[in-house]
Amino acid sequence: MATVEERIKQVVSSVLNVPEDEIKPEANFAVDLGAESIQSVELVAAFEEEFDIEMDEDEALQVQTVGAAVEFISNVMKEQGKL
């Protein structure tokens, strides 16, 4: 079973069209991975679909790096009984 981090990287790779091995925990979605504003919204939606969770849009869009996304999504999954 893939870890949360691995699944996040797969989603990011799919949405932003970036090879998975280039997606590091410290990578900033906008600065390093080229996510424009619409793609940030799309990423949030893709994460919700991947993990079957609902995220607060304001809070989710404040998350700036892959590593922070792992932590944020893991917390949401725990709150919503998915982890």
């Binding site: 797969q10 989603v11 949405v15 799309e42 949030v44 939606a45 679909e49 991947e50 849009e57 304001d58």
Partner: protein, 429 residues
């Protein structure tokens, strides 16, 4: 407006507002526009100022700030002779008096108004508007009136030409008053044109009144290379920035409009600056239609157009039916609407080449052929606040409360479509 007739209290009520979504989410139905004026303004023009209005509870706080009369004051429906008027009735070309015998006037099976004296009100013992109306329809002398009672959003569009004619009849002509430049032109009878004193018509603008009257309200500017074809009404401080404003169109106050508009109502404070076609549509307030935003109003097979209302496709009965766009919605460049599209309030829509879905729920984003949650309610409210501030209008706490309420009542339909479209993002492994 008529002198107030103190003999009979006048109250305007709203009902059946769900069938007028999305343009009735944030306003009572009697605040909808048909012709130059709002439905309430026509009623008050005929009958004098209303003593009270009755609206959904959720609208009461916000609209008590905006309306001159009392809102949802139950004391108004007892103790005195009362005329209750249906806020969906179009009071155009009608002779109805505030004072008169007790009666329930109907248009088909819809109440237009009920006049009841104080004793009858007491005897009926009803404490709600629906209760009073039901009892009045059963118990009072009735008569049928030739009055349109709006049931669906497209009814406003279809009634618009006659409403413009009636509003023009009330205003009267001014011919070439205002600032009418050399090189501007009136085609047709100048007696069919009303140009307010502070309106401007620039060189090469054409006002074509051959087929209907044209009203240019205070502060309107018609810039060069604009053709305005009557019957059409242009509201206060609206700028026409080039293009074709075609027949049967009403534009409310403080709009910026260019490109092509036909047989449509733009409520007010909205922008369609650039090229793109808008036809047989009703656009709410604070809408911005990006460049080349276009809607279809005629199917290729010329069949009648169906519209999603409250989750169901409803036949408009007409070949010509466009889009119904809720307040504060924004479209990006090149957004295309199919025939009979309904767009909720406060949406952010980005075209992606083809037509958008025929129903877009309130507060959604649309991009890459997907309905999505977007950046959420808070940012949409802040965008609304910023847009209104540009026109020196405050988004009050009550307005914000109404938006939040509307967000909640539209949550279920929105979440269903968001979850459906989100599946397109599933990672293929």
């Amino acid at each position: 407006m008529k002198e107030r007739n103190t003999g009979m209290r006048l109250c305007i009520y709203e009902d059946c507002y769900e069938n007028l979504y999305p343009i009735s989410y944030l306003r009572p139905v009697f605040e909808l526009r048909c012709g130059r004026t709002l439905l309430r303004e026509k009623i008050e023009r005929a009958l004098g100022p209303a003593d009270g209005c009755f609206v959904r509870d959720a609208l009461a706080t916000a609209w008590a700030e905006k309306l001159a009369c009392k809102v949802n004051d139950a004391s108004l429906i007892s103790g005195q002779d009362l005329m209750l008027v249906n806020g969906r009735a179009i009071f155009a070309n009608v002779e109805i008096d505030r004072q008169g015998p007790e009666e329930a006037a109907m248009s088909g099976d819809e109440v237009v108004y009920a006049r009841l004296n104080a004793a009858t009100l007491q005897k009926l013992g009803q404490k709600t508007i629906p209760g009073i109306l039901e009892a009045a329809a059963k118990g009072l002398p009735g008569r049928q009136l030739d009055v349109t009672v709006v049931r669906f959003p497209w009814d406003l569009v279809f009634a618009n030409p006659a409403a413009i004619e009636d509003d023009f009849r009330v205003l009267g002509t001014t011919g070439r008053s205002g600032k009418f430049a050399d090189g501007a032109y009136i085609y047709g009878d100048e007696a069919r044109v009303h140009i307010s004193d502070s309106a401007e018509v620039h060189p090469t603008a054409v006002l074509d009144a051959a087929h209907g009257p044209i009203i240019l309200d205070e502060g309107v500017v018609v810039y060069p290379h604009t053709r305005v074809e009557g019957p059409t009404s242009i509201g206060r401080d609206t700028l026409l920035v080039g293009g074709k404003i075609r027949e049967e169109t009403s534009i409310g106050p403080v709009c910026r409009v260019g490109g092509e508009v036909e047989a449509s109502i733009i409520h007010g404070y909205s922008n369609k600056y650039h090229d793109g076609f808008l036809g047989h549509a009703y656009v709410g307030e604070w809408v911005n239609l990006g460049a080349l935003t276009t809607n279809s109003d005629l199917k290729n097979d010329y069949s009648t157009v169906s519209v999603y209302l409250n989750g169901k496709l409803t036949d408009s009965g007409s070949m010509k039916t466009g889009a119904f766009i809720g307040d504060h919605t924004k479209t990006g460049i090149g957004t295309f609407f199919n025939t009979g599209t309904v767009v909720g309030v406060m949406c952010n829509l980005l075209g992606s080449g083809g037509s958008l879905p025929k129903f877009l729920p309130s507060f959604c984003w649309y991009f890459n052929e997907m309905i999505a949650k977007g950046t959420g309610l808070r940012s949409l409210i802040e965008t609304a606040r910023a847009a209104m501030a540009r026109r020196d209008i405050e988004l009050t706490a009550a307005d914000e409360g109404l938006m939040r309420y509307t967000y909640e009542i539209t949550k279920e339909e929105r979440d269903k479509l968001v979850k459906r479209d989100r599946r397109k993002l599933r990672v293929r492994r």
